[in-house]
């Protein structure tokens, strides 16, 4: 598995004068390393999968306390107010989503996004898409919870870094559906724009 495109000339190479110096060879991963990366991907997927169960539909009640904490301890100015006017609009209690007008539909979106991340990473299906989604979700957790009392700042920082790592490497192409999908999308991408776009995510 190549983690840098060896088929195309690296952009930096154009700026290097001919004969001025050797361009670093593309980094290639051995089968063992690729399989190791795939196992890491599966475990990160399982991490997200496990988090579905303490905020199950139809109430998503487990999520409520965390959204309240995020609204109180967010590090980004205005983020707390944004949560107050969306997730927590109309809510009359700090402990349960009583009278909330939009909590359930918005929590359903969060839960569905986390389910998509779990499926994508566990099965290696459009892995980079799943990893991008995981990065966004983890960033949101970092902004809201990293500095809340009782939390270790790096908990969510590491979650962001893990997700970013899986965006950077094609971890679904071993032990995953992307193994089958990637060559087909790349071949179809020469004729169809949608396939070219989809191939960015495997």
């Amino acid at each position: 598995m190549s983690i840098s495109s060896s088929a195309r000339k690296p952009k930096g190479a154009a700026a290097t004068g001919a004969g001025e110096g050797a361009v670093a060879p593309p980094i290639t991963l051995s089968e063992r390393s690729s399989t190791g990366l795939a196992l890491l991907r599966i475990l990160v997927g399982y991490l997200w999968f496990q988090q579905l169960f303490w905020k199950l539909p139809p109430t998503f009640a487990g999520l409520y306390g965390y959204v309240v904490r995020e609204s109180q301890h967010a590090i980004l100015p205005g983020y707390g107010a944004l949560l107050q006017h969306t997730f927590l609009a109309g809510c009359s209690s700090l402990s349960s989503p009583v009278d909330c007008t939009a909590f359930v539909p918005l929590a359903a979106c969060v839960w569905t996004a986390e389910l998509l991340v779990a499926i994508s990473l566990l099965f290696g299906l459009f892995t980079r898409f799943g990893a991008i989604l995981a990065t966004i979700l983890a960033l949101q957790l970092y902004v809201g919870l990293a500095y809340s009392p009782g939390e270790w700042i790096w908990t969510y920082g590491m979650l962001v870094l893990l997700a970013l790592f899986l965006v950077a490497v094609p971890a679904g192409r071993r032990l995953g559906v992307d193994y089958w999908l990637a060559p087909r999308l790349q071949s179809a991408g020469q004729r169809h724009r949608w396939a070219r776009i989809a191939s960015w995510f495997v």
Binding site: L39, Y46, F49, Q50, G176, W180
Partner: protein, 151 residues
Amino acid sequence: MQTLRRGFLAGVLASLVLAMFDFVTVGAPGNGFPAVLRWFGITIADSTISHWAGLLLLIVLGGLVGLIFGALQRGKPITPGRALLTGLALGILWWLLFELVLTNIMNHASSPFSLSFGRFLSSFPLDVLFGVLLGAISIQWQGHHGSHQPS
């Protein structure tokens, strides 16, 4: 013979991945292994033996499903798409047989097909994953990865 051996080993490895999940689970590690014994109505009073016996049975079952996977190839090379589909089908079969029917029968449920959303969610994706891994490991060993896959 080669396809049978490859299928068996792929099944064992795929079941080891399932077993690995039990070491990063909520509560004590290996909590899920005694449930594997209960599929066959086996209960062992000693917790340690129960955990190890459950793990062993899980690996044996993985190997057996892998053997079925290998037998379905009839000694011929398998394409990646067919391997993943066959694995997927075997994963669903695993879920239907063990997690649904046998679990319900052993728990004396009202119907062998009774199922809650939480139980479906906690078992179905992981059993399907077992099947997909079985297919994926098998094709990787078969050597289809020789084709160029730029990132």
